[in-house]
Symmetry: none
Subunit: 194 residues, 4 copies
């Protein structure tokens, strides 16, 4: 049984999300995370190399949920456009359902230093690669414009989603994020349609 499977590992990761969301990135001290997790400060270091390792693990563990959902969507027998819609909806849905997580990924974790952000980007890459598969499929099937620059298209899709979520978080979740999914989908589709 590896460390990641032990109950305290997840306990600490979840505690980190809560502490960061409630206190902000710069006020999320290791001792606070330990207290929230119900363990001693020193115990943290039996499961994580250092504080940075906790933060990256938070992103890995949680991003994993997004990748899994996306992989599931990819196996479905529907059009690329529909897959895109499902992805947006699922992405918005996951964050709507965990406000702490939304705050952490959209606002707080972006305050981390260069090195951590680079490692986070490594984790994010996997998600973007899956996203690319939808775009490629759509172009092959003639649903999306064959002349699209894949990278630009991906940046538009991800940039639009990201900007939409961040605005929603910064407006204190005043409106329903998932309700926006169809509109965002339609807007993006118009841009990419063949």
């Amino acid at each position: 049984m590896v460390k990641k499977d032990k109950p305290k590992y997840k306990q600490i990761v979840d505690a980190a999300v809560i502490v960061i969301a409630e206190n902000g990135y710069h006020q999320a001290q290791v001792s606070k995370i330990a207290k929230q997790a119900g363990v001693a400060d020193g115990t943290i270091y039996l499961y994580f190399k250092n504080k940075e390792d906790i933060l990256i693990s938070v992103f890995q563990e949680k991003m994993g949920m997004f990748v899994e959902k996306l992989e599931h969507i990819l196996t479905q027998e529907v059009s690329a456009s529909e897959k895109l819609r499902l992805m947006i909806e699922s992405h918005f849905g996951l964050l709507s359902g965990d406000l702490h997580l939304a705050i952490v990924t959209q606002l707080e974790l972006r305050q981390s230093n260069h090195e951590i952000r680079m490692k986070i980007n490594g984790v994010l890459r996997e998600y973007l690669l899956q996203m690319d598969k939808i775009l490629v499929k759509g172009m092959e099937d003639g649903e999306f414009d064959k002349d699209m620059d894949i990278r630009l298209a991906r940046q538009m899709v991800f940039g639009t989603m990201d900007e939409t979520i961040t605005t929603w978080v910064m407006n204190d979740h005043k409106y329903d994020l998932v309700d926006l999914a169809p509109k965002v989908h339609r807007l993006l589709m118009k841009g990419m349609r063949a």
Copy 2:
């Protein structure tokens, strides 16, 4: 002559950009900025209230250039689509021409704490308001889809640009950013066209 017009004010702001770009946000100590600016540590405090004030001033001073360019574009007698193209080109151009600034705005300044980012967002808002004017104009003139949600459209435009620039910065400016402007414009236009 107010403080902002004195040569040392700009000297320190420019030094801050260089130091933050080269050392990262968290390694940009006041003493480093002072040294780069060629003044004593204490001199900084004759021109800025505190460190936070330096960082916000960096954003204000530099963002000012973007707003000015955009205001100039808005006065031109061209179509909304053409204005959008000019905006993207000008935005990409300014950052291409100052790699330090690009690093600072796209990566480093986002690591600042909540309070500073809120103030930065205040400055950014002005830019987004100008951007909205282009979108509204386009919708009124029948160039852009009259049924667009302005906020979503703005998020798509800004999100796409932002994501494109950040990717470029994180890839060490390996390719020419301005060259991407027409493609980004075309992609966004397709999405917004009437």
Copy 3:
């Protein structure tokens, strides 16, 4: 076991007395106190909220000895005049026995800022209240002048003692302070006698 009972608490308070006495109030840096106490700088902050808290604690801990002695004297079955004598003798004796403490209370701690001195005065008040009990008892028993203004009498007693001790400290303890107690007692008694 509360913080005040832990050995390091007293260790740090005692170190503070020595450092302040030997270096002066304004040269008593936290790092010096930590070094003298044989702990790390950070350890100080496990036992004290901040530097101010150390200084107030010094006064509280040490003044506590004076109050205890005085309370003991008050329980004794002797005349008010004799209690006054015992108080003066005991007060002079405690400071004679700890020259560092004498310097700190008579000279250095008075250089502290307004806020600290106000808190110190709070501690001192308890001592003065006990002192008042002696004066009231003496007036009730007909030993002291019944028409005395209690506040003025207390100011004479405390002012004379304080001035006597301060002069002794500033003269580098050249003579024996306790030897002066009977004379001071006689002088004060003459002033207050019925």
Copy 4:
């Protein structure tokens, strides 16, 4: 014409008293004193060696008034007891008439460092020497107890006065200080009477 006679010298000393009284010793920066005096920071250093020199000068200039009054009292053809009464009354009167000065001498200046306080004590000595003359005269004339220890008596007189004034200042001058003079005189006289 020496520096002390120039108008700016007194201007700065008076400014210092006001600034210290209104802001507290530790918030009385040189620049604040300069501003209050209506001169440039640098000008201060044309009249005073350093900040310490300003503070000592404040005490010298103001204490001079007390010594002059006392010298005048000494020339009068009255009993020692009456001289003592005049001294207390005049001392209380001068401070009652200049609340800023009272705050500065009784509270703020005592926060200065060891060195400054030593120099202040030098100035004070002159006053105490004059005070001794009254006590000696009283003992020679048989008004005061011939067996008194002069130093102790002086400490009682000065300590009582000082404690009385400080209490009055700390109680925000709620009552009239000069009104207390006769009572203080009577109390001290009882203690010293032959």
